[in-house]
Assembly symmetry: C2
Homo-oligomer: 417 residues x 2
């Protein structure tokens, strides 16, 4: 391990972005929307927002005020607060079903060479005031980032990080259960799960905690990356829980964990099961995926007529032992900058601005779940989808002797190319 | 019909955007990228481009020069020219397979109350120099916009516009066949098709013309909108040609016509059949879909590891008889501004800037089709897709007694919401 990396680990295990040139970023801005707002004239920013955030159709995105006590917590503990409200039409036969959703993005709390128990406890202590701020602000459903109770150590391929894994009813769940009960809040807790009853198998799991502090159920990540430093198939396998939708006190929700967002069929299946909000707790770095980040979530919201809540962790995590990345470059101790940028996409193609690319934050957003059906009635994607055609396509594709439908130019032999 | 609308029809049938306040646009900019480039400092524009166009990873998007004779045509006939080149890695075992793709977006040529035969001939005459410019520039595969040989009259619900429909080997195809042969160019021609052999049935069809002027085959639009003024199910039915991929002299291509872009399964099926470039000839207006426009195409390119070429027509088309739009507003004679903005998305999440929102244009883009497999090898979406899970999901969903997978909070009766 190189000395400079030692120093950075002592500095909290989290590098400032300016040190992380592998990010590809050239200037110290906070978020895309912030950069645009600061540097464009108001009328230009308004038009750019119409195109980039879908903020037209006479339904502006309003800001929502936080209680003073939540703001005080954010100042004392150094995290950002942002809140917005999506709009929907009033209906004649249904009351609005407004739900307040909270998302938390954060960096880890201690260097990754600290005692594992200390690291986990420090993350609990760091998250407590942010969860309190969400509770005080009346959040109904709160979601944390992927594997929030540990550093994202899968890049190392070292098995010792498996020690962080916990049963579904382990200490991380217990920590959140008391807060869920206290604030009458559903909490989605994405953890590394150890499945004791099935021979210590490890999963990447989201535990859904009800607003009475009860465990409603769990969902295990369906699609596992083998890309870049995300050697996650080394640690856990494809989930075996299907595509459950959890009917909570505040609406029907589902969880598409991280890399699952690249799979349109995964998004589709949660929609077919009736999800109104799909959470995408993630951990992903700038060089690999940043231009995809706003595209895939918004597309899923549009295509499936539900809300999508996207969360990504923040900062650069440095590990004790250097590792290679399969790209021919020298060994190094971090795998890039987690760019935060958590945000929420609506089924009508609108979108909130994102949280910071660099700082911890709580995003609170009010949404009327009636908008899902309103968009379905307007666009009719479910009715025009021709699922029978695609069931047949997939059934055929699964056959080992599948032949694609190709029409070859009979004059191809004349090719001049 | 109101008098002002009469006047506008006399003015070419195409309104300037400034007259079309229903577009929602507030300023007279040319395209999103143009607005950003003109108004941001270079270092900010570079960072915004990294995020919005995916132009990072050391693979800048290069501009390509046009031959002087093509530029002369563009000046003489008043259309824009833009050209770019996507980059791919060099491989050790395969030569690069660089294909030059051309897209044409245009407004109609005569008022919609002119003789139908005159309208069609005027469109031919308008397109001829743009197609010549493409041919002179060495374009290998050229695609025109949806139903390019007529005004997009479906908003009127008047059946007389069916007269524009032609057999696959009709006059529009014949016009393009000679140009395909002349320039050794594959041409995709999206028309309103009249299927004589099946009792005059009307389809929305893309005819694929080979580089020797031969007709390789056709694809009929799979998904039909019933949204806003797009009353297209009044005119034609869901396509019966599956998801063919056409193996041409320049690569394997497919066509996802207009509203099909809202259906991830439609994109998927073309991918499963081996498409390397999927064209999306469209006709869509600002108020309805503009914020979705860059999202869906780019998501399809990312999710399916192929290139997507998006085309939208330009201008506001005014019709002789006023019509209502099912939105409670008074009858009117146009249904909004076709915002152009044709562009090409690559499988690595990068994207070309768009053509103008207002003017006719030819976009030329070089792409190495080897990039498709390179991205597949990097991200592994096909391997991690678990299609067997989704075949089962769809098979279940199709049953009339399908029950969604829902886990209900057992304490739901205690609900405080």
């Amino acid at each position: 391990m190189e000395k400079t990396q030692d120093v950075e680990i002592q500095n909290g295990g989290v590098q400032e972005e300016s040190k992380a040139s592998r990010d590809g970023s050239i200037c110290g801005y906070d978020s895309l929307q912030h950069l645009l707002k600061e540097n464009l004239k108001p009328q230009h920013y308004q038009e750019v927002s119409r195109l980039l955030l879908g903020l037209n159709c006479g339904k502006p995105l309003n800001r929502v005020a936080f209680p003073e006590s939540a703001t005080a917590l954010s100042v004392e503990h150094g995290f950002d607060l942002q809140a917005f409200r999506f709009q929907a039409d009033k209906e004649l036969l249904r009351e609005p079903r407004v739900v307040r959703v909270g998302l938390i993005q954060n960096s880890i709390a201690l260097p990754t060479n600290a005692l594992f128990s200390d690291q986990k406890r420090a993350i609990f202590e760091k998250l407590k005031p942010i969860i309190d701020a969400a509770g005080i602000s009346g959040v109904n459903i709160l979601c944390l980032q992927e594997a929030w109770m540990m550093p994202f150590a899968f890049c190392t391929r070292e098995k010792r990080w498996c020690e962080f894994a916990e049963p579904v009813d382990g200490e991380s769940t217990q920590f959140l259960q008391s807060l869920a009960l206290k604030y009458n809040m559903v909490i989605i807790s994405p953890i590394l799960e150890r499945d004791i009853n099935h021979g210590e198998v490890i999963w990447n799991t989201a535990v859904v905690i009800g607003n009475h502090g009860n465990i409603i159920g769990k969902h295990r990540k369906n699609h596992i990356p083998r890309v870049g430093d995300f050697n996650e198939s080394t640690y856990y396998m494809e989930g075996n829980t299907g595509h459950p939708v959890f009917e909570t006190a505040y609406g029907k929700i589902a969880i598409n964990i991280c890399y699952g967002r690249h799979h349109p069929l995964n998004w589709l299946a949660f929609g077919l099961n009736g999800a109104e909000i799909v959470f995408n707790p993630s951990a992903t770095v700038g060089e690999l995926s940043e231009p995809m980040w706003p595209i895939e979530a918004r597309n899923a919201a549009i295509a499936n007529s539900y809300f999508v809540a996207s969360i990504n962790r923040v900062g650069t995590e440095t590990f004790p032992n250097a590792f290679t990345s399969g790209d021919g470059k020298p060994a190094h101790a971090d795998f890039g900058h987690f760019y935060g940028s958590s945000h929420i996409s609506a089924p009508d193609a609108s979108c909130t601005p994102s949280l910071s690319r660099k700082r911890d934050g709580l995003l609170v957003t009010d949404m009327d779940l009636n908008l899902c059906r309103q968009v379905k009635d307007k666009w009719g994607f479910r009715m025009t989808a021709r699922y029978e055609l695609y069931a047949e396509t997939l059934n055929n594709y699964l056959k080992p002797d599948f032949e694609p439908q190709v029409i070859t130019d009979p004059l191809l032999h004349k090719r001049s190319f």
